[in-house]
């Protein structure tokens, strides 16, 4: 199967949707859906394929958003270039943490915890540096619609950019799955020592997976900043975002390229509906049910919803 037909069909359908006169809110949901699919797909490359479970991926969303935004606000650098810097910074941080961690065999819950610690440290730093970053009040990006400044008055351009980057991410994930690198990550996921015994440089492979994941994630942060036009440390570096990214992928199927997208297809509308229905207690009930859903999926669906779908298809 050279290239999944389903993916192409899905993408083409998605590309023509804007022809219909749909309300702006609808596109907002789609954009959020694409963004979360994208972030979760990036996450899954290192945490699903290689099973180095990161619970602090918000670190890189935040870094992406803040680096490009600060460059924009203080130096007038267009976010398109700012993104390059943002990705570079994120990669540097990832190497700083990832290389010693992998080399010294920091695995399992320890690794997860170190990533959480990273996000928490970054959050403190960006809150403390009030003069530069505005502290916990965050930064508002001044409205200046133009392609050069990566801002649009309509949601449609954002939609297409989100669609394009999602497409690239899942294509990357898909091709990794099919090639030798994906096989190596699977081996690492199953048994790191056995992988070493057959010649796999486990440390290097993990690091490559991490860097791919982080680079993609940082771009997600840049996009979010330019779409939302407001960033703050608690949202961007916070634990809930990290958890959301992780669980979106895990619910779908963390081991396959389409898993995170399926997870997002279920969870994003789900939380939106709850948010609208429950009004005042907006996030609470959705997170609560979210949590219950996680517990159920963990117990009954080790291969996520996608796994369930493929099993049903076989029967």
């Amino acid at each position: 199967m050279p290239f999944p037909r389903n993916l192409l069909i899905l993408t083409i359908l998605a590309a023509v949707i804007p022809i219909l006169p749909l309300p702006s809110y609808f596109f907002h949901i789609l954009i959020m859906l694409l963004l979360f699919s994208y972030l979760s797909t990036a996450w899954t490359i290192v945490s699903g394929y290689a099973k180095q479970i990161s619970l602090g991926h918000s670190s890189f969303v935040g870094l992406g958003a803040y680096v490009s935004t600060l460059l924009l606000i203080y130096f007038g650098v267009t976010p398109w270039f700012g993104a390059v810097a943002a990705i570079a910074v994120s990669l540097a941080v990832a190497v700083l943490i990832g290389f010693p961690a992998f080399k010294f065999g920091v695995r399992g819950p320890y690794f997860s915890f170190a990533t959480m610690a990273l996000a928490a440290i970054l959050e403190s730093i960006f809150i403390s540096a009030r003069k530069i970053t505005g502290g916990s009040l965050g930064i508002s990006i001044p409205y200046k619609e133009s392609w050069a400044y990566f801002q649009f008055s309509s949601k449609i351009p954002y939609y297409y950019i989100a669609l394009l980057t999602w497409f690239l991410a899942v294509t990357l994930a898909f091709s990794i799955e099919r090639n030798w690198f994906g096989y190596y990550l699977m081996a690492i996921r199953e048994d790191e020592d056995a992988a070493e015994a057959v010649g796999i440089n486990v440390t290097r492979s993990k690091l490559i997976a991490l860097l791919l994941s982080v680079g993609l994630t940082a771009w997600g942060g840049v996009f979010y900043a330019q779409y939302n036009l407001y960033i703050d440390p608690a949202t961007l570096f916070g634990l809930p975002l990290s958890f959301q990214i992780a669980t979106t992928s895990t619910i779908g199927n963390p081991k396959r390229w389409i898993g995170p997208t399926i997870g997002a297809l279920v969870l994003v509308p789900f939380s939106e509906i709850l948010r609208v229905v429950t009004g005042a207690t907006f996030g609470s009930l959705s997170f609560l049910l979210y949590g219950a859903l996680l517990i159920i999926v963990a117990r009954f669906l080790p291969n996520g919803l996608h796994g369930l779908m493929t099993e049903k298809a076989k029967q």
């Binding site: 099919r178 090639n179 030798w180 096989y183 190596y184 699977m186 081996a187 199953e190 048994d191 020592d193 056995a194 992988a195 070493e196 015994a197 057959v198 010649g199 796999i200 440089n201 486990v202």
Partner: protein
């Protein structure tokens, strides 16, 4: 220098001397058997040669180059591959995927690696099970998978750790024939750790005996069998 050579290798764990000044040589196309009571250091020696442990002192040479302290993946690259005493397949992956991963060391193209893997599976008689999940296999098949995966890496030296344990007589016999064939046709050298003494006596060119981390004897199978010290260690027990 021999193809694979350890020189005064010593390894301690806390207060325990797992290996003491072990000198071992393995020549090209040779089969050396490594026997000894439980806890004598056989698996530790394998771990040290394969790079999973770093020796506290001593050196290891392969093809005239030093490999002491290299990472396991480097050592595998150079041509020394080990199997594990308690088999460690990539559990949730299929038999074919397991062996393909081994083959990917030499070729980065998945289709080619798969082709090689299928051939190897045929030669170890696992072709029928190629799409089974490896954690579901019987012990006998797991051992074969472990061997197949190691073979896919195209080793010049194979370190086998109790590859016959848990097999029926006929299964063990087929593995032994395979080992012999590999030695003759592909020039692979073997260092085989075994408990099933009779089997290893028949196939080895030389036998080394470890006890409490020290090499007691290294000689032809007949001489080792006749050796008083060795008999004492084994208390005259016969192994099937």
């Amino acid at each position: 220098m021999a193809l694979l050579e350890t020189q005064t290798v010593t390894k301690k764990f806390g207060g325990l001397n797992a290996l003491q000044n072990v000198d071992l040589k393995l020549e090209k196309q040779e089969i050396v058997g490594l026997i000894g009571p439980n806890g004598s250091g056989k698996t530790t020696l394998i771990n040290v040669i394969a790079g999973f442990y770093k020796p506290d002192s001593g050196r290891i040479f392969f093809e005239d180059r030093e490999i002491t302290g290299l990472y396991p993946h480097d050592i595998a690259h150079r041509g020394i591959v080990r199997t594990f005493q308690l088999t460690r397949p990539f559990g949730n992956l299929t038999v074919l995927e397991n062996v393909t991963i081994g083959a990917l060391l030499k070729t980065r193209i998945v289709e080619e690696a798969e082709g090689k893997a299928l051939e190897i599976l045929r030669s170890v008689d696992l072709y029928e099970m190629r799409n089974s999940r490896s954690k579901d296999l019987t012990t006998g098949n797991r051992k074969r998978l472990e061997l197949a995966r190691a073979l896919a890496v195209e080793p010049r030296v194979l370190l086998l750790d109790e590859v016959l344990a848990g097999l029926t007589t006929s299964e063990a016999q087929s593995i032994l024939s395979l080992i012999d064939k590999l030695r003759r046709e592909q020039g692979v050298s073997f260092l085989i750790v075994e408990h099933i003494v009779r089997a290893i006596m028949t196939i080895s060119d030389r036998i080394a005996v470890l006890d409490a981390g020290e090499k007691i004897v290294e000689d032809t199978p007949e001489s080792v069998a006749a050796n008083e010290t060795v008999r004492a260690i084994y208390l005259g027990k016969e192994h099937v």
